[in-house]
Subunit: 226 residues, 2 copies
DNA sequence: GTTTAATTTAAACACTTGTTTAATTTTATT
DNA sequence: AATAAAATTAAACAAGTGTTTAAATTAAAC
């Protein structure tokens, strides 16, 4: 473990790149393979031997680089969830109508999660696993930031008189992300239902029809008069 | 395995009870424990030894009664998802305003899934696991039935001129169940956010606030004029 | 009460798990 | 070229996995 720490520090000095210390071709390769396998077979369902086989490395390299399987998961979450936060913060600065902002917010959510579906599926899987609590703290912080962004956009719309005021702001994200995830989790079912034969057709359905449905739903919730 | 089959048949003769052959106090006990543990720790994360310890039975009894761990999961799904279908079919027969029917539909979904949250969480977990495909066929049939029910209710409302016609009916269930599940999956987060200190407070929030939010959302989607 | 079948048990099975070791090879530094 | 550090390896570790076996116990049938 002493070796490992030294190695990390040296790497961070050598790699003058952006991110938090630990970037390295081989490590990223391992992370990508881990994402794929965790997503397909779950965290417990994936063995380090599976990962090393697929990544064509020795079994010991995972412990060598990350310390343990658990810490590999932590690194994976950190590595794959950084940019969503940035994109939302940028959206807040943009000068747009509240309704347009909400629409764009949904677009960002869907496309972002869709792009990193692997890790978000893992997160979804492991979210309620008590063993995994520690690894998921970083994710909780992300969620808090996201909620702040949604709150700010909607309150802006409310003070402009465009949005209803008797809505539960904190439950809007669950509706947006929940709809998307339920669709994704039941992928097989909807592929059959909508006759989506290829990966491309499936993704197209998401970026068009599903996104539109979510936007329509949230818009209706925010503006309709009963 | 020969012994097992014989045993099952004899049981079904002795037990003159309702259900599909295989009911038995000890088996139900095992199923309940399995539901709890699978839900807490996932299917792969739960060992037969965990189950036998918690259920206070011998390790061999699971294989003896169900054949294998995989078949235990199949039995569990079948045993826990029968009644939702019935409740929805009853709802279809009721003489209610379309909007009231939708409201009640959401109530049924939420309460039903909430009551059996264990097994639905397992389903959610294992849904995309290719290894589990066979065990989940029964669940696909359930989903198809549910979709039929939703379709029939909404088309009724549309033909009465109460509901919009430019909505994606097939995506309404994802919004209902997805919202609920996302809330449930991120339980820790929302417990903190809404200061829900006890199990009771959490469940109350679901049956009141969350249900209301979903009903409000779907109502808005169905009736608002843009 | 004896016999037969069903249940329950502890032990063993072969296999997989995450992690560590110590030796080797590769890379970097002087 | 020699030295030191880092990366990689195969082998071993102890612990846990699902399942099977064969013997022991309990219950049912006669």
């Amino acid at each position: 473990m002493f070796k490992l720490n030294k190695c990390l520090i040296l790497h961070s000095i050598r790699n003058t790149t952006m991110s938090n210390i630990e970037l390295n071709d081989k490590k990223i390769q391992i992370l990508n393979v881990a994402e794929k396998l965790f997503s397909d077979k779950g965290f417990e369902g994936t063995s380090i031997r599976d990962i090393s086989k697929e990544a064509k490395i020795n079994i010991a390299m995972v412990s060598y680089y990350f310390g343990s399987k658990e810490k590999l998961l932590e690194a994976l979450i950190l590595h794959k969830t950084v940019d969503l936060k940035l994109q939302l913060e940028n959206l807040l600065q943009e000068n747009l109508e509240p309704l347009e902002k909400v629409k764009k917010l949904i677009e960002i959510y869907v496309s972002r999660i869709c792009l990193n579906k692997g890790i978000y599926r893992v997160l979804h899987f492991e979210l309620n696993n008590k063993k995994r609590e520690k690894s998921l703290n970083a994710f909780t912080e992300l969620k808090k930031g996201n909620l702040k962004a949604v709150e700010s956009i909607i309150k802006q719309g409310q003070s402009q008189g465009v949005f209803r005021k008797d809505i539960n702001i904190q439950l809007i994200t669950p509706t947006i992300i929940g709809t998307f995830f339920h669709f994704h989790m039941n992928r097989h079912f909807f592929e059959e239902l909508f006759d989506l034969k290829t990966e491309e057709m499936f993704n197209n359905y998401i970026t068009n029809d599903l996104t539109k449905h979510i936007q329509q739903t949230i818009k209706a919730l925010l503006v309709y008069e009963n």
